[in-house]
Symmetry: C2
Subunit: 381 residues, 2 copies
């Protein structure tokens, strides 16, 4: 039986490790490298499916932790699954819930068998395990199902990280054994910032034949240097013929650097979260719509952008809405920011086909210079 | 020179005072009777122009008080006028600012010449007068310009109401004398709940040849009985060949009763405000999406509605979004509620053409029974 989700590698960039590919899913084929839009509670914050289609969203990410607590996996299944519930008929990736259980939940007990936690909403008691995560993700009807892993907070010592890696591998086997749903499971390589642990865990995880592999445990507070070093190191250890997913990353410069390291899939709350804070991404770099200079600016957020917001409204109008605390501004700014991320990835794919990826990489790093001192150049990635 | 705004009376309902007409404006022709959607601060709360077009919005109402304070009339003019600023190319009616100056502003001094008030935003000091209101409305580029009137809070005594009426008439003459803009001025008949004062003021105001006449000072706390009695009494005193506008009204039952009394134009914040509170209007009456019974309901808000929300999402999903406090819910519920009001008026117009207005009237009064005891029936309107 072929996997519900399969990857087709179309081309390898001769000047970097970047790849151009296609991911086939039960809800359609998407082009890689790609950015996936985060829809935490069954909605991309501020955006409806018609907005997502208009800006050519390919994949929406759903959060298992949030949806299992509210409205509940069984409830979503009864209502026809997450695609129907949120009226998104394109592919959906769901995370395992692990990251939120460990970061948002009030942890009570962690054993080999399961994690007991209390909901951050109402304190109600819940159990999460590989089997529960698989059940909820199957109830949601997810296309791409992330294995349930143990997340370790950095800085953690070597033995602690190693123990989490080994448990993650055992939990992966339980995920594979228990999953009965329409999608395919991706495994997650952990190992913190330790190359030896990353290599050992990558060997364990990739020994399991899975539809795809993710690089987990990054973008959790470490510096950009460390993040990109470990990302590139780990990506090189993953099978050539499977998609590679760098979880929870990142800024525009992170995306193009990740692509140059051979990553195919990204997700991040940044475009929608920054939109709500009034920070916009443009080809010329970031801008804050709160700035007084925009009060009389009749131009669009980004002259190079074709989204509804940029085609229709001036910076002056958007600043007015922001200051007047009008609801509409969140939708308009989110449309633009998500469109920027999706367009960036479209430009990356076009450039990979045209053999001009280095140009997009350099343009993006110029507009979004890595902020830390001593960040290593692109050639090191 | 013909008036920028003109009215065409198409038909008179034989069974009531209801009228079917057309209003021609510099930004297009609209069908009456109609409901105008309130866009207080240069946006209909939660809705973009593409949403407004999709639900066949005819006219948007802008608030002069809010826009003069932020971003300012001159600023909007510099940015191309309110149509361009908010990207709404259909007709715009602006109120005079009077109602908000008297209700929101911190009043400092009211004289024959002007009103001095402090902004409710920052306490800054401002002057409002007939001339200022006309200047701001001209700066905004409004199509339908409301005369600046003195609002009296009920209950007010006869002499106080009468003095306000007479001042309103003098201020109307100053409005007409000073207005230099692309639109047409509507006069406003005041007079509280006193028939004699209403009659006297209607005679004064209609002695001025204007593009339209409004019934002001209603829906400010009086009972529905009183409101509809005075509305019907006043509407009958207004010229047959001019549009009649009942300001700030109302609920679905108020609209159909107003139409039966010969009113052509309505506006109210109710559809968007109630949407934000989770109260929805449907052909079967009101519903609160917060209600637990909807948690498992796969049906649309209103099976008879063709709006994006009803075509796309279940009550269960909308309840989930409401409880999760997701931004998207405000847009989706506002789309539906405004669509309900606009569709109701479309059904009213169709029924007037088909000679079946009484059916729509009765259906609406059945779904929205007037709430006060002893409310008089339709025949009395």
């Amino acid at each position: 039986m072929s996997s519900p989700v399969s990857f087709e590698l179309l081309a390898q960039d001769p000047a970097s490790r970047a790849r151009r590919g296609r991911l086939h899913t039960p809800h359609g084929t998407v082009q890689t490298p790609m950015f996936m839009v985060v829809g935490t509670q069954g909605t991309v914050k501020g955006l409806a499916p018609d907005d997502l289609r208009a800006i050519r969203t390919q994949v929406v990410l759903g959060n298992t932790y949030h949806l299992m607590l509210r409205p509940g996996g069984a409830r979503v299944r009864e209502l026809g699954g997450l695609h129907r519930f949120m009226a998104w008929d394109g592919p959906i990736l769901t995370d395992s819930g692990g990251f939120q259980v460990f970061s948002l939940g009030d942890l009570r007990e962690i054993t080999e068998q399961a994690v007991i936690f209390r909901s951050h909403h109402d304190g109600s008691r819940h159990l999460m395990s590989p089997e529960v995560s698989m059940q909820v993700q199957a109830d949601l009807g997810s296309d791409i199902v992330m294995a349930f892993d143990e997340c370790v907070r950095l800085p953690a010592t070597g033995p602690e990280v190693q123990a989490a890696c080994e448990r993650t591998t055992r939990w992966l086997d339980r995920c594979v054994a228990s999953y009965r749903g329409p999608g395919s499971i991706f495994g997650i390589v952990q190992g913190g910032l330790d190359r030896e642990l990353r290599a050992a865990h990558a060997a364990q995880i990739t020994a399991r034949p899975l539809a795809g592999y993710a690089i987990g445990g990054l973008s959790v507070g470490e510096g950009k240097d460390d993040m990109h070093d470990i990302c590139a190191f780990t990506a090189a250890l993953l099978p050539h013929d499977r998609p590679r997913y760098l979880m929870g990353v990142g800024t525009p410069d992170d995306l193009v650097r990740g692509v140059s390291a051979g990553v195919d899939m990204f997700d991040c709350v940044m475009p929608t979260r920054n939109a709500r804070n009034g920070t916009l991404f443009t080809r010329a770099g970031r801008l804050s719509i709160k700035n007084a200079r925009y009060a009389t600016d009749p131009g669009p957020l980004d002259p190079a952008c074709a989204c509804y917001t940029c085609r229709t409204f001036s910076r002056a109008y958007l600043r007015h809405l922001y200051h007047a605390e009008e609801l509409l501004v969140h939708r308009l700014l989110s449309i633009h920011n998500v469109a920027y991320f999706l367009d960036l990835m479209t430009r990356v794919r076009d450039a990979l086909e045209a053999g001009t990826f280095t140009d997009v990489l350099q343009e993006t790093l110029t507009a979004y210079p890595p902020r830390e001192a001593g960040v290593r150049g692109v050639s090191s990635v």
